[in-house]
Amino acid sequence: MNAEIPDLVAGQVMAAFVVPQVVVAPIKAGKLRALAVRADKRLPGLPDVPTSAEAGLPGVEALVWNGIFAPAGTPRPVIDILHRELVKAYNAPEIKAQVEATGSYVAADTPENSPPSSAPRSPSGAGSGAQPASSRSSELGVDAKVRNGRAESSAAFKRRRRSRRFSTRAEAPHVDELDGDACPFRSRRAG
């Protein structure tokens, strides 16, 4: 994990963009210099480090996130139960404190707001055009028989996914578009 830190401290690597928990100690010890926190607010653990906006580059934000997913076709009531309990769980004071102690923060979802893709795919896989999530795939992709430049070969795969659409690498968005929008959730930023 985070093998770049020794290299960074030793000067083998000059710069890096890393998660806060691994660099707070070397920064405080003067072994590394922090230039910016790539978020819209400063980190409690690094109060002297400006945000990228304060450093003169507004909008240059980079957050990593994690989230809980379920297989498509999971019934709505089940999704709602899980959503409600998850939000409650990570908003519990002790969990929140643990998360914030490492320079992260918990998502800003509330028990009431539901996940964005409210029309899960039916288990048969049919009707993919009806759900909001597939609009991205229609923008990006074509009905292609080529996956990542390779010809489609697996008969089992074809059977399983006959009616689905997927995009090719060439149709993928430019990397620059990812920074803010890679997150598939509607409310992207904690308040």
Binding site: A10, A15, I68, I81, L86, A89, S104, R169
Partner: protein, 183 residues
């Protein structure tokens, strides 16, 4: 009258369904090894969910499958869609999705979001010997305006968000031993 009866029955079925979940232990698959940051996150919330929903929430580690953690994602995408198999997905999956989606398990297609959990901003750090005191100065260095040959930047897996950021300060990368998963 008939319509109303059907409606009420439908409601009851919906409620019954909701009440029977979870009917057995729920597995949370983590695409990272035990002790890693995503693993710790999953183990932080599992006991809370267990307490709230009355069934064990078991964290299982399924590292591997490239930066996107496809081994875990695939297993969840193939599991019965009843909420008893969940995935802790990382941003790596979303980046992988956009660059080279694997039709087995794309977010918002084969895998549906329930909620985000944690957000972590990246910090730009430099070795103190680098003659830059701000992000802008670092970028000028990267563009070679100050006579420095090149910046040696850290690069790891293709799907790593850090790598995407380094591409912004585009210059020569240096390969570094890198972790494959975190967030």
């Amino acid at each position: 009258m008939m319509k109303r009866l059907v409606f009420v029955l439908g409601m009851l079925v919906g409620i019954a369904h909701a009440q029977t979940f979870p009917s057995r232990p729920v597995r949370i698959l983590v695409p990272a090894p035990p002790g890693s940051s995503p693993d710790i996150r999953a183990r932080q919330i599992a006991p809370k969910l267990q307490e709230a929903l009355g069934q064990p929430f078991i964290v299982e580690n399924r590292p591997g499958g490239g930066g996107a953690g496809l081994i875990a994602a695939r297993e969840v995408a193939r599991a019965a869609p009843d909420g008893h198999t969940l995935l802790l997905a990382l941003i790596n999956s979303a980046i992988f999705d956009a660059l080279s989606p694997d039709p087995c398990c794309r977010l918002n297609q084969e895998l549906m979001p329930i909620s985000r959990f944690t957000m972590t901003p990246l910090v730009a750090v430099i070795n103190p010997s680098v003659p830059a005191s701000s992000l802008k100065e670092l970028i000028s260095l990267g563009k070679g305006k100050t006579g420095l040959d090149h910046l040696r930047l850290r690069r790891s897996g293709q799907q790593q968000p850090a790598r995407r950021q380094l591409d912004r300060v585009r210059d020569r990368h240096q390969d570094a031993r890198g972790s494959r998963t975190r967030a």
